[in-house]
Amino acid sequence: MALKEIDEKSFPFKLISTEQKEDAFESAVKAGIKVVYTNQEIDGAFSSNLSNDDWNILTKSLAEPKYNEKLAALLKMESVFD
């Protein structure tokens, strides 16, 4: 995705009014729920973020396929399944 200026129309999240946000915040505080506002994606089952170091190690590994002795042993192992 190319860099571009983000304006109200291109902002990827639906904006809610300040009043609605404060209502949600107040009710969450009363319920003892910690409220965090963020525009970053949070790690979940379907996607997650990697640090720069982790990302670089992964992309380097993908570019340089290696024979994996431990994996070879696993693939030769007799399975318990029928």
Binding site: F46, N52, D53, D54, I57, N68, K70, A72, S79, V80
Partner: protein, 167 residues
């Protein structure tokens, strides 16, 4: 011992891997997610008892940084996301540990990944270990630990295919 896709026919209540979160996932979420096609859970069945299970999910990895990169020499953009096959859950019942069931499950997942690569590509399998002991366990199976995400490991599909071809 058989490996089956989770269904209503399986009695999930008696399974215990001594991790309540994982046990609860199997008993209350795995079948629902499976039926909604969000993930796919396989159960290892021995004499009608669930002795192990694993859940596979399509995942997407991306770097934290938001900058856009262009490799000037190749004129290709550097990918901002990498698709992955996530082994979301993998657990063995407490009474069936040390019988190579977990390793057999990992082997089966890798075999499924190899078969799937005939039809669609994803470059890496990732797994989240529950604790440091399990990190060592996955490393013994050939996975590599991420330095920063210390309980997550990865295994490139290119390594799998190269190893399989050479074996």
């Amino acid at each position: 011992m058989k490996l089956e896709v989770i269904s209503d026919a399986h009695n999930l209540d008696r399974f215990s891997c001594e991790n309540i979160t994982i046990d609860d996932f199997l008993k209350s979420e795995a079948l629902v997610d499976n039926n909604e096609l969000l993930s796919k859970t396989y159960v290892a069945v021995d004499n009608d008892k669930i002795v192990a299970f694993c859940t596979l999910i399509l995942h997407s990895l991306k770097p934290e940084e938001k900058e856009f990169y262009l490799n000037v020499s190749s004129k290709r953009t550097i990918k901002q996301r990498i698709p992955a096959l996530l082994i979301g859950q993998l657990a063995v019942d407490k009474n069936f540990k040390n019988k190579k069931i977990g390793a057999s499950l990992i082997k089966k997942v890798i075999e499924y990944a190899i078969a799937t690569s005939d039809y669609i590509h994803f470059p890496v399998i990732i797994v989240d270990a529950d604790n440091e002991d399990l990190v060592s366990y996955y490393e013994k199976q050939g996975f590599t630990k991420f330095p920063d995400k210390r309980l997550r490991l990865f295994l490139p599909m290119a390594d799998i295919l190269k190893t399989k071809k050479a074996s």
